[in-house]
Amino acid sequence: MVVVALVVFGLLRLTPGDPAAVIAGDYATPDDVAKIRAKLGLDQPLPVQLSLWFGNVLRGDLGTSIFSGLPVTTLIKQRIEPTVALAALTMVIAITLAVPLGVLAAWKQGTWIDRTVMVFAVSGFSMPVFWLGFLLVWVFAVQLGWLPVQGYSPLSRGLWPFLRQLILPALTLGFVYVALITRMTRASMLSVLREDYIRTAHAKGLPPAVVLLRHALKNAGLPVVTIIGVGVALLIGGVVVTESVFALPGIGRLTVDAILRRDYPVIQAVILMVSGVYVLINLAIDLLYLVLDPRIRY
């Protein structure tokens, strides 16, 4: 995390571009620019800026947005609900779709079912998320009129409008994720299905469904859980794009706007937070291994 913070800080400061000049506008005198720079603390030497920022981050203060003048923590709080809702719904949809598909493909290995599922899975991460999003909007919102085109309705205004707004974005974003998890589930199931105990289970006369789900899937679970964690990075990238397509007022929109306006404190805070979430989720998954596989001990 410290390294991420350093990298982000270094990257943003060592490259040309002066936010003070951008804020001051075209008609500002060099004096105005200098005043703004002093107010933002940008006139301090880099190590001083860095240590100030670090100290503040440790105290939970992520700084103040250069453009809106609001504390970054407030901005993030305002924007977090749609993002978390979208990510959570996407995960739920993706896992409930992908795991059965992967199991099915592994069970019917080599048949046309398997091949269809795999082509579907490869195409899943071969298409741009926003393109899929627009096509879904065109079909379901414009042509059929079943769902709203864009926008967001907070959970506090009722569950149904909330879900109606989120279903298309979540499907869009979920597609990539489905592809990833399906592939992993299939591969993992295939290697487990070759094990001796699976043959034993079949020989005992257990119904195929029981063998598949109770004996095989349980043991094929670890790599699948791992890829779900790794996929979070993909999910975060996708959230940024999906929020733009569906005009959701989330963290992704905040980041893109901040980046395009060089709002350093916001960019630093968001990237730090996002990387932190990523690391935490993967830590949680490491701990989950203990539950899934009693043989693993730390």
Partner: protein, 286 residues
């Protein structure tokens, strides 16, 4: 690779049967290559397929649906979407290939050195871990915000997030390879570090790197379209699949074809590159 090329000769009647067997065993590889070849040809030979200028505006035929005369319709300036899609392929494919080559060469260089020198390794790996924790789209986007948009800067912004992935693969391989007897033997006969790295370790890396390269190429083409879509990609006067779609987004309700066809081409391209990657992985047993 050399070994594969030498035992597969597709000439004469026996060769033709061999080719068929090869194609059946490596269905994904062959199918991917054929599709990609067609797409690359359509981009390179764009002037042969359409006589229209991808940038020529004709306001009288704005937002026309696809027809026999204009197979992909026209956009909001009356530009021909078919011509734009073909020419756009040139930029997108070029970006993908150059990004893959640059990321592979720099990544391999860094990975070789870091795998071989313990002192360098700890520093390099910390930076790599740090970079990997940042989602690549965000990183590329942040880089693009710092420079003026051009095809070269887009390529640079796409290369940076990919390098750590290559470094990881290379380093992991070097770590196992350097303990092998062949390396010990080479040292014993007096080979220097550079010679060991280049003549003994690098050749063993070729297969995994080729596979990695196809995935980088595919993802670069995708991420370029994301950058364009978010307004930080290839400048608007150069049509790439990404920014054709980015411009068409406001007109989804009036002309879905503006965004549909470039996206379809992009998807087919990335799909075929991914299939080639998967096929090569099976073929080269990586």
């Amino acid at each position: 690779m050399a070994a594969i090329a030498s035992d597969v000769v597709f000439e004469g009647p026996v060769g033709r049967r061999r080719a068929r067997v090869f194609a059946r065993r490596n269905l994904t590889l062959v199918a991917g290559s054929v599709v990609l070849l067609l797409l690359a040809l359509s981009a390179v030979a764009a002037p042969l397929w359409t006589s229209r200028d991808p940038q020529a505006m004709s306001p009288s035929v704005r937002l026309k649906a696809p027809s026999a005369e204009r197979p992909f319709g026209t956009d909001h300036f009356g530009r021909d979407v078919f011509a734009r899609t073909l020419y756009g392929g040139r930029i997108s494919l070029r970006v993908g290939v150059i990004v893959a080559l640059l990321a592979l060469t720099t990544g391999t260089g860094i990975g070789l050195l870091s795998g071989y020198s313990r002192r360098l390794d700890s520093v390099v790996m910390r930076v790599v871990d740090g970079l990997m924790a940042i989602p690549s789209i965000l990183l590329a986007l942040a880089l693009m915000a710092l420079v003026r948009a051009s095809v070269e800067t887009v390529i640079a912004a796409l290369v940076v997030p990919e390098i750590p992935r290559v470094v990881r693969v290379v380093r992991a391989q070097v770590l196992t390879l350097r303990e092998q007897t062949m390396v010990e033997g080479a040292r014993a006969i007096g080979a220097g570090t550079a010679r060991v790295l280049l003549r003994y370790i690098l050749p063993a890396l070729v297969a995994p790197l080729i596979v990695q390269g196809t995935h980088i190429c595919a993802s670069a083409i995708l991420v370029e379209s994301y950058l364009s879509f978010l307004g930080a990609g290839t400048p608007p006067h150069i049509p790439s699949w990404g920014n054709i779609m980015a411009e068409g987004r406001t007109y989804v309700q009036l002309g879905v074809w503006i965004i549909l066809f470039p996206g379809l081409f992009l998807m087919l391209t990335v799909l075929s590159i991914n299939l080639i990657g998967d096929g090569l992985r099976d073929l080269l047993k990586v």
